[in-house]
């Protein structure tokens, strides 16, 4: 039996088994066990038998969950790569084929991912070794998200600092994946926002240019542009080249992964079908955004200004849709109770519109409202749980 198994073992398994003893506690590299373990469990689902409790366990684990989110992000990554190049050629007035667009985009995105994962995983492995724990796979999602919510012109050293801030201060200091209060990817963005505001605001950062920009090209994102609008806000947007269809399809400047609604919708579908993303949160973010935008829109004194922006526009502009689908649904930092999720999501949507409309300093409200609600999520859950306790007491008293 044993011999039979060894014969059928694949070469890779042989290598793993050969080096494994060195990483055991007594081995030469015993201290680096978490590193070996993460490589092995990445390559294989290893046969660790159940010891107590249920004898069988679901095939689903956190790795699988993370991988589903990463799969859901693929359309956004591909479109984002294309759009970085597309905007580049549009700004320079030169013709660019689809392949050229992808190539230019890849030139931006590949280094960003290399830096994000290099720095992020480095910290994760370091903390795992210090804590003598398995390397948590939580960073894979965070790391996939971070470049997608950054402008394409972000200097790589700033990105490295942001990733460090997010992993070390945002997550590991709280005890690691599952213990953090704030969405780590958004923390990276918030870090840039407050530490290097010029890298992530204004109109110069959203398009990769080589100095030369044609007159017909608007550098500002639609949101910034709408905030500065004189006259009818819709008219102003379309005069800038930001028709509803363009903004819906995503051929506009912005953070790398956030612009395309169809790409986000495919991702949302993956999350909903696999059950990995909470439909309650997604639905209520959109509901909250639509409700407040409709209210504000109805109260708008005239066709000018952010108040006059129709509700549907809000949902396709900026990071609203991306945040609703991929950021608000982070199970660690969102509300945990089902009722709480409705409240949590609705307030995110509502707050985003309030910030966008009434605070000219922050044309994009999504990041701040999600971070703010991350902070309130435990309080929302507390309220929901307490009301459940009261209901149960009443029920028991009958």
């Amino acid at each position: 039996m044993r011999n039979g198994r060894e014969e059928t073992m694949k070469p890779l398994e042989k290598i793993l088994d050969a080096v494994k003893p060195h990483f055991r506690e007594s081995g030469r590299f015993g201290r680096f066990w978490p590193l070996f373990d993460s490589v092995e469990t990445f390559l294989y689902r290893i046969p660790v038998p159940t010891k107590s409790g249920a004898h069988i366990r679901d095939s689903f684990d956190l790795k699988r969950m993370m991988i589903m989110v990463m799969l859901a992000l693929v359309p956004c990554i591909v479109f984002g790569t294309y759009n970085v190049g597309y905007q580049h050629f549009l700004a320079s007035g030169l013709p660019g084929t689809a392949l050229q667009c992808l190539a230019v985009g890849a030139g931006v995105i590949v280094p960003m991912y290399l830096v994000t994962f290099g720095v992020g995983l480095g910290w994760e492995v370091l903390f795992a070794i210090i804590r003598k724990e398995e390397v948590s796979e939580g960073f894979f999602v965070t790391g996939t998200l971070i470049p997608l919510i950054m402008p394409p012109t972000l200097p790589l050293w700033q990105l490295a600092l942001a990733v460090t801030f997010s992993v070390v201060l945002g997550k590991e200091l709280f005890g690691g994946t599952g213990m953090n209060i704030f969405n780590p990817a958004l923390l990276a963005r918030a870090f840039i926002f407050f530490a290097y505001p010029r890298s992530i605001s204004g109109s110069g950062v959203w398009t990769l240019t080589q100095g030369r920009v044609v007159d017909t090209y608007t550098m500002a994102t639609p949101l910034t542009s709408a905030a500065d609008a004189a006259g009818s806000v819709i008219g102003h947007l379309s005069s800038q080249g930001y028709g509803f269809t363009d903004m819906f399809l995503g051929f506009i400047p912005g953070s790398i992964g956030e612009t395309s609604i169809p790409a986000i919708a495919i991702g949302a579908l993956v999350l909903l079908v696999t059950g990995v993303g909470s439909w309650r949160i997604m639905l209520s973010v959109f509901a909250g955004g639509l409700a407040v935008a409709a209210l504000v829109n109805a109260l708008a004194p005239g066709p000018e200004g952010m108040m006059a922006l129709p509700p549907a526009y809000h949902l396709v502009m900026g990071g609203f849709a991306f945040g609703a689908v991929f950021m608000a649904t982070d199970p660690v930092s969102a509300a945990a109770t089902n009722t709480g999720k409705y409240i949590f999501g609705f307030l995110i949507g509502a707050l985003t519109i309030v910030i966008r409309v009434f605070n000219p300093a922050f044309p994009e409200g999504m990041m701040l409202s999600i971070l703010l609600m991350n902070m309130f999520a435990p309080l929302i859950d507390y309220g929901v749980v307490r009301s459940g306790v009261r209901r149960r007491k009443k029920h028991a008293a009958r």
């Binding site: 038998p49 004898h55 069988i56 956190l62 699988r64 599952g178």
Partner: protein
């Protein structure tokens, strides 16, 4: 009354037992395991080498001498197994196979009164058939239970069909119900599977009990779910008892025939069972006798009970006092390359992230003892909430147990649950948490405080 349970999940474990009990297996060895009788502390009464008969007390409860745990079959005490700090783990008897499996029961002085019945149950060793909620422990004879629940359904993976267990013993079951009804001032609730096409008349045609129908996925058949939906626990002093169909038959037999016997109907099933089926045997029977010639393949785990809550004691296992099922499960063996991204045609999962959940499995489920992932902190995936059909926030409850916050645990509903009610949450937990152990820890803490 029909209660339809929506939350839950039926794990498609292959190898269900079919048909009726067509074999009789008299074991060479039987054992009684004190660890099963939660809330009691054993005081050993026998020595190795001592001869015992069916019904000879092997140990009693230190807290209440009247509660006896007796030999399920006559023979010689072969060994007394002790574990850590000399805790009594098992009393193993080598049986006299020739002698009969029944013995004269205790003289029943007054089967019409609660006292008479209780005395006979205690003396015969059948009293531990009753378990109580809250806390999920062995019942205390000093309590008068508010109600008694009898689940005549079992939705756990590969659970034996109560209709098979009661077949041919309908009269004993009815007699048992009559006796049990006198132990409570309240009601006896009999819960029948509402999706069963032809439930035994023993369940549907009964008098003096309240009949309920439950249907839905597991844990719709769990007694904790029944209590929660029919007459929930109000506080730590609000005690209800519950008792299995098998136990009702054992009690009925004692009072109908005056004879004591621990003959039960059980099933051997599971992915590694070559020919799953039912048989009659004796409570506490050694597992390898029950599964002789049945194992398909090597390296198999023999579990007394089901795959969610059952017990595994290595090669030498015994059927639990409350169990009517041996599950044969293959041990996890080979590595699976890039398992986390496989389409998952053969992997079972409650989550919808494997193809098997969508198109079923053509090749059959691959179910073994693999943890299928590393242990991680709790993540609020919303999975628990879809698997516990009670008005409870499971994640918040589990967190309060972690924090050892007694008041919070009780308010969040710990009194409503025991291990079996949350075993599915443990199965599905992507962080691979030990939820059953956690819940027991919380219950122990509460018992100690009250």
């Amino acid at each position: 009354m029909m209660v339809t349970i929506k939350k839950g999940y039926d794990i498609a474990v292959p190898g269900r037992a079919r048909g009726f009990a067509d074999r009789d297996i008299i074991p060479d060895h039987v054992a009684l395991l004190p660890g099963e009788f939660l809330g009691t502390r054993p005081k050993l009464l026998v020595r190795e080498g001592e001869k015992v008969k069916t019904g000879t007390p092997l140990f009693t409860d230190k807290g209440n001498d009247a509660v006896r745990f007796v030999a399920p079959l006559g023979g010689t005490v072969e060994k007394i197994i002790r574990g850590e700090r000399r805790a009594l783990e098992a009393v193993v008897i080598r049986t006299d196979r020739q002698k009969g499996r029944t013995a004269p029961g205790p003289r029943i002085k007054n089967a019409g009164t609660r006292e008479g019945i209780l005395a006979a149950l205690l003396e015969s060793g059948l009293f531990p058939c009753f378990r109580q909620r809250p806390f999920g422990v062995t019942a205390n004879p000093d309590d008068i239970p508010r109600d008694i629940f009898i689940p005549a359904m079992d939705t756990a993976p590969l659970a034996p069909d109560p209709n098979v267990i009661v077949a041919g013993r309908e009269d004993l079951f009815r007699r048992g119900l009559e006796i049990i009804a006198r132990l409570t001032g309240g009601r006896v609730h009999l819960v029948v599977d509402g999706s069963s096409k032809s439930p035994s008349a023993a369940f549907t045609d009964v008098r003096g009990v309240e009949l309920h129908y439950f249907k839905g996925p597991h844990p719709a058949g769990s007694v904790g779910v029944h209590i929660h939906h029919i007459a929930p626990i109000k506080n730590a002093a609000d005690i209800v008892w519950h008792c299995s169909v098998q136990s009702v038959i054992l009690i009925g037999r004692l009072f109908a025939t005056g004879k004591l016997s621990f003959e039960i109907t059980a099933a051997a099933a599971g992915p590694a069972a070559a020919s799953p089926g039912y048989f009659t045997t004796i409570a506490g029977a050694r597992l390898d006798t029950l599964t002789e010639g049945m194992s398909a393949g090597e390296n198999i785990r023999r579990i007394s009970g089901n795959v969610l809550t059952g017990r595994h004691q290595g090669t030498e296992g015994y059927l639990g006092f409350y169990d009517n099922l041996v599950t044969l499960l293959p041990e996890a063996e080979s590595r699976r390359f890039l398992g986390w991204i496989s389409p998952g045609l053969r992997d079972d999962s409650f989550s919808r992230s494997f193809l098997s959940r969508w198109i079923g499995t053509l090749a059959g489920r691959r179910i073994d003892t693999n943890m299928n992932g590393g242990v991680r902190p709790f993540v609020a995936t919303g999975l628990y909430e879809r698997l516990l059909p009670m008005d409870i926030h499971p994640l918040m409850l589990f967190k309060s147990i972690h924090a050892e916050d007694l008041e919070e645990m009780e308010e969040l509903g710990l009194l409503d649950i025991a291990e079996e009610d949350v075993a599915l949450c443990e199965y599905a937990c992507p962080s691979k948490s030990e939820i059953q152990k956690l819940v027991r820890k919380g219950l122990d803490l509460m018992v100690r405080e009250s």
